[in-house]
């Protein structure tokens, strides 16, 4: 599904290059569930953002669904990730001004899906996540776990083939975290959604089929489960 080749990311500090990612090679197949681990500042988020095309590498080649991402213009990149990728964040990043329903609906609007169809899709996912009763509430009226549920529902609404989750359980207690992980596993196994998650939690990491350990911008080890 995606291939990273010799991917580096650095910032110019004074005269020298400060590497955040250093020569990363990575292949992820469709249907995989990958967990990325590593100490704080090791470059996990940067790697995830590059995969999600929110950030560009300083060097290297990036292929996604057979396209050379490093060759694309910004518009084309946007179109590509809009079609295939859903994001889940540690801080949820729901839009405070919108209700649960509207938050979930927003990506559909940007994909120019008609009102009637949007309604059906949102209703469907609200039902599936058991949050129908919360649909008119604003994010501030929800608990952290509920907010993350909405965040995931929003990421899933446009039926992405890849979900990128940056510490999705970081702000949740262990029980809430487990529920989210169960949800990811179900999505991965039943719907064949590819998942790449960043986590600090060993137990949550083991939901994945492969654990990648980052250290100082380099892949230190890969563990298949």
């Amino acid at each position: 599904m995606l291939t990273l080749k010799n991917i580096s990311k650095y910032y110019q500090v004074g005269g020298s290059k400060n590497f955040v990612l250093n020569n990363i090679d990575l292949d992820v197949e469709e249907g995989e569930f990958v967990s990325i681990m590593g100490p704080s500042g090791s470059g996990k988020s940067t790697l995830l953002n590059i995969i999600g095309m929110l950030d560009q590498p300083s060097e290297g080649y990036h292929y996604f669904m057979g396209e050379g991402v490093h060759l694309l213009k910004e518009k084309q990149r946007t179109a590509l990730y809009k079609q295939y990728i859903g994001f889940v964040f540690q801080a949820y990043h729901l839009i405070d001004e919108l209700t649960v329903y509207e938050n979930i609906e927003t990506p559909l609007i940007y994909q120019n899906i008609k009102g009637g169809e949007r309604k059906a899709l949102v209703a469907d996912i609200l039902d599936r996540f058991n949050i129908v009763g919360k649909k008119d509430l604003f994010p501030s009226q929800l608990s952290g776990g509920q907010q993350q549920l909405v965040g995931i529902a929003r990421a899933l609404i446009s039926k992405p083939r890849l979900i990128l989750a940056d510490e999705p359980t970081g702000n949740l207690n262990s029980k809430q975290g487990e529920e989210i992980m169960e949800l990811f596993r179900k999505l991965n196994q039943e719907d064949n959604v590819t998942i790449i998650q960043v986590t600090h939690n060993e137990k949550n990491a083991e939901y994945g089929s492969r654990i990648i350990n980052l250290l100082d911008g380099k892949i230190e080890s890969i563990k298949n489960i």
């Binding site: 964040f89 990043h93 839009i95 001004e97 509207e102 927003t106 940056d166």
Partner: protein
């Protein structure tokens, strides 16, 4: 999509309530002022355009090539003679404007004594007048071809006859042409407000062809080509080349008129006689382009300030909107979609402001109209191009500021947003500073302008005029002068003088603050210097009491004697000069002039020289004046004690009505008459004061919002500083210092601009104050004070917050 945008826009406006209120209030006020002024501009622009063929109507005037000003009073016989020679003239009409002013006596029954009305707006016109200018008829046909026919306006008809028909009725008009009976042929709807030609009563020119109806005023013979006193309007065949026609008219005119050698005929389009199409327009106009333009400038300035407020407050909110913008991008929104989203908010806000501004206009319209003395309404906006102009300004303002704000709000990269809002920095700080500086520069200019205007006004009103205006009542003399007139006037003066509360009484044919009687040239010393005969003098006809009553001081000699009055100036040939006149005549000083003879056709003796006094406003220099003796009866000036004015005036009224039966009694207070000359400055003062107030208010609202935001942004810093021991003053300084600096910069920019503009404006006054440094200090201090108070409210609130709370929140 749109409905979603709308829903979110209104929700956001509600959520950021304070900001929305400030934004909407500022915009509504700005747009409201703009609409009011647009009404005024539309009104002024739309003058004289109601006649269906107004585009083919021109007013003729003579230019002699030398003088800047043309002559608009043409000889009455001219128009007919010209039409005969020039077939391109389809029709013409003449107006002897206010020529027939006097008293109208209306009899309901043949035998009754009749009711008298003083009518100033009585003009002599040609038979086709009503139809020519498109005045609407209400009753009768209004044709004034025959002698002794008249047409009156609807409200005049109502005043005279109530609800009874007016056509066919006979009214008696007493004026300089004696007493004449007129048959009413028509009643016209009251003249539209947007007409420079106005009349309550129209009399037929034909009447004056009969010497019996001229009372010896043979200059007014309407077929003569000598003295010019009529406005001439010509309707030219459509498609005629105007310039070529004027050239032809000039040629023909030189044949028609005896001494028209260097004269040039010029044609001024009817639509341009109100508002000049450009600043260097050399024709006479009734409206004031400079007024309209400065009004418009103020309106645009205020609207711009309001929009800048919007831009400032909205971009400053950007930080709280950054996350929304970034997340939307991650969810797949393109930048233009986000721009449209934010633009929708601007449009919603504008529409709300527009609605409120319309309500505001409706509310203040009556006051605005009273102030301007004009019947303005929102309807006027739809009369002409103004409508498009207003839409353009509102739409352009909305789009420009909306797109600017949206561009800033949509510029955040999603990556940064995701990394955390705390790390975000808002760009474009310098732009916001520039906007604040612009707002306050405009405000300070308006403040300084207002101060200067009022200072000049006060200066003019408090200067020593060289005469006393206090406690003087001016009574208009009788309108009909007949052989017994002189006796009646003397009798009136004697009777009034007996009244215990009357100090002095004088008669003159015009009064200070209103004007002279006429101006004359060709007055010289017996041994004149070259060019002396070209110098002009302002002549005033007065009695012997005039100088004493007005407290005008004599430099040499003394007032006229009663004998000089009785014989009148043409016979006694005595004059009194003011110092300027003595000087202009070439006398070294007043003493030298006394007892000397001067030549004005015949020899006149100088029996006195008075100290210069301001006969008219301080707009103009003191003119060389020559006083002529006569038993005057144009105006009686009575100096009386201040107590019981109303009752005393009633006593005088009784005497007046007894001695001048049928003459309506009208009076005014001299100081008010004199003060009327400063109405323009008073109005300008009020306008600029309001404009300055509104501009400062809107700008201060913006500052209030900015300070609120700064305080919010610095909550954590303030908390830490307080924990570290900062006191309230430190915190206030922390927030206010930047803003106050901006206002100081504004003052530095505004001062030279205001200085330049005001210096220029003051040039038009013959007597004027200068600009002095304290005006700038005062104006600047005012701005700084307002800004400080505004910011202070916010900073005090921030400073008094509990630091533990604000730190924990973070």
């Amino acid at each position: 999509m749109l409905s979603t945008h709308l829903k979110i826009a209104t929700r956001n406006l509600r959520r950021n309530f304070t900001f929305s209120v400030i934004n909407i209030a500022g915009l509504a006020l700005g747009i409201g002022i703009f609409l009011l002024i647009a009404e005024y501009v539309s009104f002024e622009w739309g003058f004289n355009r109601f006649a269906s063929n107004y585009k083919n109507i021109y007013r003729a005037s003579f230019f002699n090539g030398k003088e800047e000003k043309g002559d608009y009073y043409l000889p009455p016989g001219y128009a007919a003679a010209l039409k005969e020679k020039l077939p391109a003239i389809e029709a013409y009409t003449r107006i002897g404007e206010n020529l027939g002013g006097g008293v109208a006596v209306v009899h309901q029954q043949k035998a009754d004594a009749g009711q008298a009305y003083r009518e100033g707006n009585v003009s002599f016109v040609d038979g086709n007048f009503l139809q020519f200018f498109g005045w609407k008829l209400k009753e009768g046909n209004g044709v004034l071809n025959a002698a002794q026919t008249a047409a009156i306006s609807a409200s005049t008809a109502k005043k005279y006859f109530g609800l009874n028909p007016a056509v066919g009725k006979i009214i008696e008009i007493k004026n300089q042409f004696g007493s004449t009976l007129y048959t009413i042929t028509g009643v016209y709807e009251d003249v539209p407000a947007q007409s420079d030609i106005k009349a309550d009563v129209l009399l037929s020119f034909k009447t004056l062809e009969n010497p019996a109806f001229r009372n010896g005023n043979d200059w007014a013979d309407p077929v003569k080509l000598e003295s010019g006193y009529t406005y001439n309007f010509f309707q030219i065949r459509p498609g005629t080349d105007q310039a070529a026609f004027a050239k032809l008219a000039t040629q023909v005119t030189r044949q028609i008129l005896p001494d028209a050698k260097g004269l040039k005929v010029e044609l001024q389009p009817l639509k341009d006689i109100h508002l000049a199409p450009s600043f260097n327009y050399h024709f006479q106009t009734y409206g004031s382009l400079i007024y309209v333009v400065s009004f418009l400038a103020i309106a645009i300035l205020i609207t711009v300030i309001a929009w800048l407020n919007y831009i400032n407050l909205s971009t400053v909110q950007a930080l709280s909107r950054a996350k929304e913008s970034g997340v939307r991008k991650v969810l797949g929104a393109t930048r233009s979609q986000i721009i449209i989203q934010f633009l929708t908010e601007t449009v919603v806000l504008t529409v709300i402001s527009l609605l409120i501004s319309v309500a505001f206009v409706t509310l203040v319209q009556p006051y605005f109209n009273t102030f301007l003395e004009k019947p303005l309404s929102l309807k006027l906006l739809f009369d002409n191009w103004i409508c498009a102009g207003v839409c353009l300004v509102v739409i352009a303002g909305c789009l420009f500021s909306g797109i600017y704000v949206a561009t800033i709000l949509s510029a955040f990269s999603p990556l940064k947003t995701i990394r955390g809002v705390a790390n975000l920095k808002l760009g474009g700080v310098s732009i916001r500073k520039v906007l604040v500086v612009f707002q306050f520069t405009a405000s300070v200019i308006l403040i300084i302008t207002t101060i200067t205007l009022y200072r000049q006004l006060r200066y003019m009103q408090t200067q020593d005029l060289g005469l006393s205006l206090k406690q003087k009542v001016v009574i208009t003399g009788p309108s009909v002068i007949n052989s017994s007139g002189i006796d009646q006037s003397v009798a009136f003066e004697n009777r009034v003088k007996q009244l215990p509360f009357v100090g002095k009484i004088a008669a003159s044919n015009n009064v200070p603050g209103q004007g002279y009687n006429f101006s004359a040239q060709g007055i010289t010393k017996l041994a004149p210097a070259a060019g002396d005969e070209k110098k002009s003098y302002s002549m005033l006809i007065v009695d012997n009491q005039y100088f004493d009553t007005y407290d005008i001081k004599f430099k040499e000699g003394r007032a006229f004697t009663p004998a000089m009055l009785i014989h009148g100036w043409p016979k006694t040939r005595k004059v009194i000069l003011n110092e300027s006149a003595a000087k202009q005549l070439g006398f070294a000083n007043a003493e030298q002039a006394l007892g000397q003879k001067i030549n004005w056709g015949k020899e006149f003796e100088v029996v006195g020289v008075i100290k210069d006094y301001h006969h008219l406003s301080l707009h103009q220099f003191i003119q060389p004046m020559i006083f002529l003796p006569a038993v005057a009866d144009g105006y009686f000036t009575i100096k009386m004690s201040a107590a019981d004015m109303q009752q005393h005036i009633n006593q005088i009224k009784k005497i007046y009505e007894e001695l001048f039966p049928g003459e309506p009694f009208t009076f005014s207070f001299l100081d008010e008459v004199f003060d009327k000359q400063y109405r323009t400055e008073q109005k300008m003062g009020s306008i600029f004061m309001s404009a300055a107030g509104i501009a400062v208010f809107i700008a201060a609202m913006g500052l209030f919002g900015l300070a609120a935001f700064t305080a919010k942004q610095k909550v954590k810093e303030i908390g830490i500083r307080k924990v570290l021991g900062a006191n309230v003053l430190h915190i206030v300084q922390l927030i206010s210092a930047d803003f106050i600096k901006l206002v100081l910069v504004s003052i530095v920019i505004a001062s030279p601009i205001a200085w330049f503009a005001m210096n220029k404006w003051l040039q038009q006054f013959a007597y004027r104050t200068g600009m002095s440094w304290w005006i700038f200090v005062a104006g600047g201090s005012l701005a700084v004070t307002i800004a400080t108070l505004t910011v202070m409210v916010q900073s005090l609130r921030a400073a008094s917050a509990n630091p533990v709370k604000s730190l924990r929140n973070e």
